[in-house]
């Protein structure tokens, strides 16, 4: 009963803090879709270049045979700019450059291998992405030439094909897209964190700083009911921001500029519901943990400084999957934040999420929440008089 009264009051109080809410919405709700759209523009650019079928060549005039091959395959040949090396390094040129030497044709005719260079920079991501395509194109040219030579000498081309090599891609469209959409869980996670942060500090250290904690404790309400009410409100604000963050990705999908990406990025109401179900326990745990740290601090500012540990931890833990290339390890699910990100990524990839997989993070979060609430309740009276 009292917990409900406290919950309602704290929720109203937090939602009236418009300036803070606006900043949180701007930083954790708007930025996700913006980054997603920017990324889609990048992917669309790469796709467009792939479709354009343009090859940038320096010295194509020395290689009529190659020109003939490229034109037969409907590639447009563009002369490389004179300072292409500089442009590749400064990343203003987004395509690798094919460099043909002066005596290409003569050497080819003599049966000597002429030197052909593919010039790119591994620091230049756009050029790097197109490099594989150019290499494959050149291999096709080499293949064609050798076939011709064999046929000329009366040997069946099949003699050279020792194996029949075919590629088969096991990734479904969703898991391919997950490479790009993997950041969506991260942004939603940040939304929970920053949504709950301010309310967590305001209901504990803020209450001390204002001098309203002491009078509050002079009401005939149990400390646990006061803390549970506050904690509920903090977790609810975190979840509200997370919900808004999830929903902001729905309209953002319509703005995706890459058609393939838009087709692959399946983030609908089902995904939103699963995300919220996965994040609710985390919001509860984070709220309790941040409150437990903040109640020991006399001022809002001090509490903010002390809570950087939590903020940093929650922001960095999901990066484990980036640094650790060994794939998913069992301990990931036992780690707060990392467990949620892992499961959200599975949802995005369309992989099954089992009961045990959800149960582990849920148990961990429950433990943290209960521990945090108990700590705050124990500290409350000491905090009020000191």
């Amino acid at each position: 009963m009292n917990a409900w009264v406290v919950f309602r009051k704290e929720l109203i109080d937090a939602l009236r803090d418009r300036r803070t809410l606006f900043m949180v919405l701007l930083s954790s709700v708007a930025i996700g879709p913006v980054v997603l759209i920017a990324l889609s523009a990048l992917v669309a650019g790469i796709e467009r270049r792939a479709e354009e079928r343009t090859v940038i060549v320096a010295g194509i005039e020395h290689a009529p045979t190659l020109r003939n091959f490229l034109e037969r395959h409907t590639y447009r040949i563009e002369a490389a700019p004179a300072d292409y090396e500089k442009q590749l390094v400064s990343q203003s040129l987004g395509d690798p450059v094919l460099v043909v030497m002066k005596d290409f044709e003569a050497e080819l005719a003599r049966g000597e291998p002429p030197l052909v260079e593919i010039v790119s920079s591994s620091a230049n991501q756009r050029a790097g992405a197109a490099e594989g395509r150019l290499t494959r194109l050149l291999r096709a040219f080499v293949n064609e030439q050798s076939m011709l030579r064999l046929t000329f000498r009366g040997i069946a081309p099949a003699a050279l094909e020792v194996i029949d090599l075919q590629e088969r891609d096991l990734a479904n469209p969703q898991s391919r897209a997950a490479r790009l959409t993997g950041m969506v869980p991260f942004f939603v996670l940040m939304a929970v964190l920053y949504g709950a942060l301010n309310a967590a500090l305001d209901t504990t250290a803020g209450e001390r700083e204002r001098g309203s904690l002491e009078p509050l404790l002079m009401n005939p309400a149990s400390r646990v009911s006061l803390v549970v009410g506050k904690w509920g409100a903090v977790a609810a604000v975190g979840m509200l921001i997370a919900l808004l963050s999830c929903f902001s990705f729905l309209p953002a999908q319509g703005l995706l500029r890459s058609e393939t990406l838009a087709a692959m990025f399946q983030f609908g109401l089902r995904e939103v519901a699963l995300f919220i179900a996965l994040l609710a326990p985390l919001a509860a745990a984070l709220a309790a943990a941040m409150m437990a740290i903040a109640i020991r601090c006399k001022t809002f500012k001090e509490a903010q400084a002390n809570n950087t540990v939590v903020i940093l931890g929650i922001s960095l833990l999901p990066l484990v999957t980036v640094f650790d290339q060994g794939g998913e390890a069992p301990w990931h699910l036992w780690t707060p934040a990392l467990g949620q990100v892992t499961l959200m990524n599975r949802v995005l990839k369309g992989e099954p999420v089992g009961v045990v997989d959800v149960g582990i993070p849920l148990a961990v979060c429950t433990l943290i929440a209960v521990g945090g609430i108990a700590l705050v309740a124990r500290q409350l009276r000491t905090a009020a008089v000191r």
Binding site: D13, R210, E214, P215, N219, P220, A221, R381
Partner: protein
């Protein structure tokens, strides 16, 4: 009625080697009757705030007993708190809530219904002359407006006992007079038991029916202002207070 018997409290300050024990309250005892304003007068650091915090069940005494209308605060803190309204030294309000919401919040925590709490807040606003404040957010309130809101919040559940810790701190003359009037009305019209701590002599002379003088954590004297003056053969209450509250040595150093 509030009865305080032989209260004592020690605090540990600092940690490790620097730790030292401070005897905040050594032996404080008094009885505050219904329909009376009882003043707790003492110099800064005499143990007034600690005593009132113990009465309000915020800290547990090392020894001694506190009875509020016969209820032992140590054993039944919630039942005792339900019969007390406390305006403590810290009287922070919630700046994003209106004065009314601040008052009703405490009423709800005292188990009142929303409607009953609003009705009571209206009544108190009339009495404290703060009607226009009710619908305003407390952000930007003056000290006097804050005090009125905090006082209304403390007595929203209409408690028979009222405890105020240095309520006039930071108030101007007009606000102080308004507070005094409000306290007199609560005493005369509702017969409340009011305990009031202060270090200002004039407050006590103007308002209190009975004075408890606390010094170095002990009750050193009690009675009406006139009786205490007579006891010390002084005409000026300030002289009486200095004689009673400070040792000869302290008076010589002052």
């Amino acid at each position: 009625m509030i009865e305080v018997q032989q209260l004592s409290k020690r605090f540990m300050l600092g940690r490790g080697r620097k730790a030292r024990v401070v005897q905040a309250v050594a032996d404080v005892g008094f009885v505050a009757e219904n329909g009376r304003i009882t003043g707790l007068l003492g110099p800064n650091g005499a143990g007034k705030t600690t005593t009132l915090r113990m009465v309000a069940a915020l800290i547990a005494p090392d020894t001694g007993r506190i009875l509020v209308d016969g209820i032992d605060v140590g054993r039944h803190p919630h039942a005792a708190l339900a019969r007390m309204g406390v305006l403590s030294d810290a009287r922070g309000l919630y700046p994003r809530l209106t004065a009314l919401e601040n008052i009703v919040y405490y009423g709800r925590l005292h188990g009142m219904t929303e409607a009953a709490a609003i009705a009571r807040a209206d009544l108190l606003a009339e009495m404290l002359d703060m009607k226009p404040l009710l619908e305003r957010r407390t952000e930007g309130f003056s000290q006097g407006e804050r005090m009125k809101t905090a006082l209304a919040r403390a007595v929203v559940h209409d408690p028979p006992n009222l405890i105020l810790d240095e309520p006039t701190n930071g108030l101007d003359v007009v606000a102080t007079r308004a507070l005094r009037d409000a306290l007199r009305r609560l005493r005369d019209e509702a017969g409340k038991c009011i305990v009031f701590s202060t270090h200002i002599m004039q407050e006590v002379e103007r308002l209190c029916d009975r004075v408890i003088i606390v010094s170095h954590g002990r009750t050193v004297a009690e009675g009406t202002v006139a009786a205490l003056n007579a006891q010390c053969a002084e005409r000026d209450f300030e002289e009486t207070f200095v004689r009673l509250a400070f040792t000869a040595e302290e008076r010589a150093h002052a």
